[in-house]
């Protein structure tokens, strides 16, 4: 993300590009990283619905992994994940380990 100089800021600070916040990668905030274990996934998509950062990638109605550029590592997905036969499909792991 590049900051604009004052000459380039639009009058009234109007944002003309929708969704430009995508330029700001919030993934660097993360202390814990969610790991997806595909064999335990029942594709309930709760992780996708409950993610506050829209960082769960879904393709054709199926969970396909995380977008680590934006995931802040809150862990809601891992806590809400029902998993399969008592085994979670999302686990939180400490970053850098």
């Amino acid at each position: 993300m590049k900051l604009k100089g004052w000459k380039k800021v639009t009058p009234g600070a109007v944002c003309t590009v929708a969704g430009s916040a995508l330029e700001f990668k919030t993934g660097s905030w993360r202390a814990f990283r969610p790991r997806w274990i595909e064999e335990n996934c029942i594709q309930c998509l709760f992780c996708w619905m409950y993610c506050p950062d829209m960082a769960v990638n879904v393709k054709d109605g199926k969970m396909v992994g995380f977008n680590y550029d934006y995931c802040k590592g809150c862990g809601i997905c891992a806590l809400e994940c029902p998993g399969k036969k008592g085994k979670k499909a999302i686990v939180m792991e400490e970053e850098g380990k």
Binding site: M1, C15, G19, K25, R30, M49, Y50, P52, G61, E80
Partner: protein, 313 residues
Amino acid sequence: MATTPLTLKELSKKEGLLTSGHRMCAGCGAPIVVKMVLLAAEGPIVAANATGCLEVSTCISDYTAWKIPWIHNAFENAAATLSGVETMYRSLKKQGKISKDIKFIAFGGDGGTYDIGFQSLSGAMERGHDMLYICYDNGAYMNTGIQRSSATPFGADTTTCPAGSVIPGKTQQRKNLTKIMAAHDIPYAAQASPSHWMDLVKKVKKALSIEGPKFMNILSPCNRGWRSRTDDAITLSRLGVETCYWPLYEIENGVTKVTFKPKEKKPLVDFLKPQGRFKHLFAPENEWMLKKFQEAVDKEWESLLKASGNEQP
């Protein structure tokens, strides 16, 4: 207009109208609420935002996380601002300059809704503007560092009602805003929680299908202010519903309907215990507070059940 079937699979195929890259805290409830509301809406939407966490974090200097036309004006006037936008839309439509059917949604936190924005909200509802006002209620002024609001629950510790030797946290009960809004005789007022996403989405869909002023109050956990874990926003909002601290109901044209009845009503302490802001309530000398809080919750739940039961012909 094509409507998306209410399954997560189908909803996930819709374009998200709030993008990643917003600067809300990790584990915040508000973006979850907004995402669900926007997923429920079909067709073009115009939104207004009161000052608050959601506003400052989604639109920081020249960068916006919104993919819809969005306006922020001041803390106290999200509803008045959107009233103006909606009035302009009606005028332009009459003049034949706009052909689209646009829905209007205002977002405000509890500070911008219960307190500071209350007069403009009340005015907009009284004037009957065609808009849906969504309050994401996290129970204090979290944006400025956890000051009490009239939505702060009884007994909660905040920086302006700190629990200590002088007072045991907030000594007043919270304002019942959903009922106050329903008392404006608006066609639709409801309460929802992100843990019950289907209920929330259905209520937003219903609200947007009704012409006139609508109000929804949605629980939005804040792990910083509630002094809880970053991963329990959904778990806590579910406990809020199951303990009947945050009952799910709607009031449509004066008729109250409880939309979710917990199989077993859990004791309120289940909701309070995981939150650090209520820690002092578990000290032996504050036992009376837990009792008083539980009584208030029971009273509200019973009154809702009674009102809901009366709807039968």
